[in-house]
């Protein structure tokens, strides 16, 4: 939003699922290799060894798959090479390639299943977050699901690309080792070739020093290689998130919230138009009756008690109805209701409203709740003397901004006020952004989509 320091962005799924995340939680132990690599104690932790175990255990599996792929890959390369030199491939070769490729494709989903099982298990070496195992879906379903073909893609990646990367890495390691040993091996008769021949021990020593210094780099590079492989594996092998189902859940939540809101409104209306005036009428009648009953009559006391109770009930019902749906919102609309809120606040509040057109009821109520809660927080925690509320439209969104001149440093991790707000905002598919650097100012910004 405003690019202020100390910003907590409650964007996207974090806010929508209401797990408010505060960045900078580096004190925790890393749960996966990628995170561990960024730490200073990487080299002395267990992670390099875990990465090494992961890399080494990759070799047999990737090797096996590479051989399988070469059955098709080698003739294909040969044919391509021949074509380049103007020799058309023979019919037998083409037939072999066609049949071979089809067989490979047909077999791949079957092969990829056990491979995926092994790979998910092996991923545990470099990633503590468990990956749920996928169920065998049945033969036909296996060929139809998108997850299967992602696993197949992973199969080809593991058999095709990974071995090449490993070879390159291995060659670099061998080159480094060669440089380290070169002072002992190099002589004029048998020069060690790095990128130019080294013919004497003296010539070799600088290379050896550089190579020794490079060793830690290889540890990091091995870590990177394993981490990259793990990221791809995780991406390909994670049970797919059913986005259609998620969308449906989000939609049904919005529907539920809408229905809930309509119901609240109906209850408020029924109470306001039905129960409240009748209760007022009852209190009035009791008040009238009291006028006619002499003070010393035995009926006077119970009548007075009934009158008092009816009045107490009126006050109670009024508060109850207000809690269901603020009356001011029904009567004055959002801008007016927010001004009433500002009026009732214990600190000075300026309201700027720039709203045109009607807002969906649920958006109005949510915005009202946001302002009410935010002003409540300001009064309770911020030590502020003045706050500013801005209501406006931005595209299809209603934007609510509450700014105060308090001490800042609001932390969603402490206290439930902000979490409750984020929940309420997420329920209508909106988002909440908070900027509260120490020393202030604190800005709470809420964006609520207004599509009906």
């Amino acid at each position: 939003m405003l690019g202020l320091p100390g910003k907590v962005d409650l964007d996207g799924w974090e806010a929508r699922s209401c797990a408010i995340s505060v960045s900078g939680m580096t004190s925790e132990l890393p749960s996966r290799l990628v995170a561990a690599l960024r730490r200073r104690d990487w080299l002395i932790s267990a992670w390099p060894w875990r990465a090494l175990a992961y890399l080494i255990s990759t070799v047999p599996l990737a090797g096996l798959l590479a051989v399988g792929l070469l059955v098709i890959g080698a003739p294909l390369l040969a044919a391509a090479n021949g074509l380049q030199q103007g020799r058309p491939p023979s019919v037998a070769l083409l037939l072999f390639l066609a049949v071979g490729s089809l067989t490979l494709l047909a077999l791949a989903p079957m092969v990829s299943y056990p491979v995926a099982v092994v790979e998910r298990w092996r991923l545990g070496l470099v990633d503590n977050r468990p990956l749920p195992a996928s169920q065998w879906p049945g033969l036909l379903a296996r060929y139809r699901s998108a997850a299967t073909w992602r696993e197949v893609a992973y199969l080809f990646w593991l058999g095709g690309f990974v071995p090449v990367a490993y070879w390159v890495f291995l060659l670099l390691v061998l080159l480094d080792l060669g440089m380290i040993t070169s002072p002992w091996l190099a002589d004029a008769a048998e020069p060690v070739v790095v990128w130019r021949p080294i013919e004497s021990t003296g010539e070799a020593i600088p290379y050896a020093i550089v190579a020794v210094l490079l060793l830690p780099v290889f540890f990091y590079a091995a870590g990177l290689l394993a981490a990259a492989q793990a990221v791809v594996a995780r991406w390909a092998l994670a049970s797919p998130v059913d986005t259609a189902a998620l969308r449906e859940v989000a939609r049904s939540r919005t529907r539920l919230v809408g229905a809930y809101e309509a119901e609240r409104r109906r209850i408020e209306r029924d109470l306001h138009d039905g129960a409240q005036p009748r209760l007022t009428s009852l209190s009035l009648q009791l008040g009238l009756a009291r006028l006619d009953v002499p003070e010393d009559s035995p009926a006077a006391r119970p009548l007075a008690v009934a009158h008092d109770q009816a009045r107490g009930l009126m006050a109670m019902l009024r508060q109850l109805v207000h809690g269901i749906r603020p009356q001011s919102l029904t009567d004055l609309g959002l801008a007016g209701a927010v001004r009433e809120l500002a009026d009732a606040a214990t600190i000075g509040v300026t309201v700027h409203a720039d709203l045109d057109g009607e807002l969906p009821e649920i958006v109005e109520t949510t915005a009202y709740f946001v302002v009410s809660e935010a002003l409540g927080n300001v009064a309770r925690h911020a030590g502020a003397t003045h706050a500013e509320v801005r209501l406006g439209r931005a595209g299809g969104d209603l934007v609510v901004e509450v700014t105060d001149d308090g001490r800042g440093g609001a932390d969603p991790a402490r206290g439930t006020g902000l979490t409750g707000l984020a929940d309420r905002v997420a329920a209508v598919d909106g988002r909440l952004l908070l900027s509260s650097p120490p020393g202030g100012p604190t800005v709470v910004r809420v964006e609520l989509p207004c599509r009906r």
């Binding site: 409240q276 209190s283 009035l284 008040g287 006050a315 001011s328 004055l332 001004r339």
Partner: protein, 218 residues
């Protein structure tokens, strides 16, 4: 006899109010259940006082209030008392801005249960006074930024009672102080609120009116 036009959409409450008014020797010229009917009845009967609910048909929003404001636009001095289910300072301000800014009452509906006080309030407004519900006044006085911040606690108390349209005698009785002391407090309030002395008997209520106009909440 004070002639009243009454508007309230809930039948039972309307009948109760009619009984109350009749008992205290008001004449109810018309008792209606919607804002347009109120406009018609008030124009037909030219009453001494209009008593109306705020939320009424047809819109079920602030129709009653708008009708009252419209009536006072036509008859500047028409005394009007509106009943509101909730404290809304914006409504009070709109009402006080209508007509000549006097002879208006803004009360919570609950007040009708305090039968005699309610009738007193109606009489005060019909006689040219102004009455603001104590809850509205309390809400306004709670704001620290307001110009009333300069007032002492006692002066606030006095102002709150003033705003209800009470006389010095009544305030003195209420606060258990001498009438002269109340007079001194009132003088201080007017001084601190920068209200110039004049012959206007409602100058004291103007203390609250000025404040409301300066901070229209609607």
């Amino acid at each position: 006899m004070t002639r009243v036009v009454l508007a309230e959409d809930e039948v039972l409450l309307r009948e109760g109010l009619v009984a109350l008014l009749t008992r205290f020797e008001f004449t109810v010229c018309a008792a209606v259940g919607s804002a347009p009917e109120l406009l018609d009845a008030a124009r037909a009967h030219e009453p001494d006082l209009v008593l109306t609910d705020i939320r009424m048909p047809p819109g079920r929003h602030d129709d009653g209030l708008r009708a009252a404001v419209a009536l006072r636009a036509g008859r500047q001095h028409l005394p009007v008392v509106v009943l509101s289910q909730y404290v809304q300072t914006g409504y009070a301000a709109a009402l006080l801005d209508s007509g000549d800014g006097q002879r208006v009452g803004y009360l919570l509906k609950d007040r009708v249960a305090e039968v005699t006080e309610f009738v007193d309030t109606l009489r005060r407004v019909a006689a040219g006074g102004t009455a603001i519900d104590p809850d509205v006044v309390r809400q306004l006085l709670h704001r620290p930024r307001d110009p009333l911040g300069a007032l002492s606690a006692r002066e606030r108390e006095v102002l709150a009672l003033l705003a209800e349209g009470r006389s010095n005698v009544s305030i003195a009785g209420r606060l258990h102080v001498s009438e002269a002391a109340v007079g001194k407090h009132v003088g201080n309030i007017l001084l601190k609120l920068d209200l110039p002395p004049s012959d206007d008997t409602n100058r004291r209520v103007l203390a609250v009116l000025t404040y409301l106009r300066r901070n229209p909440a609607g």
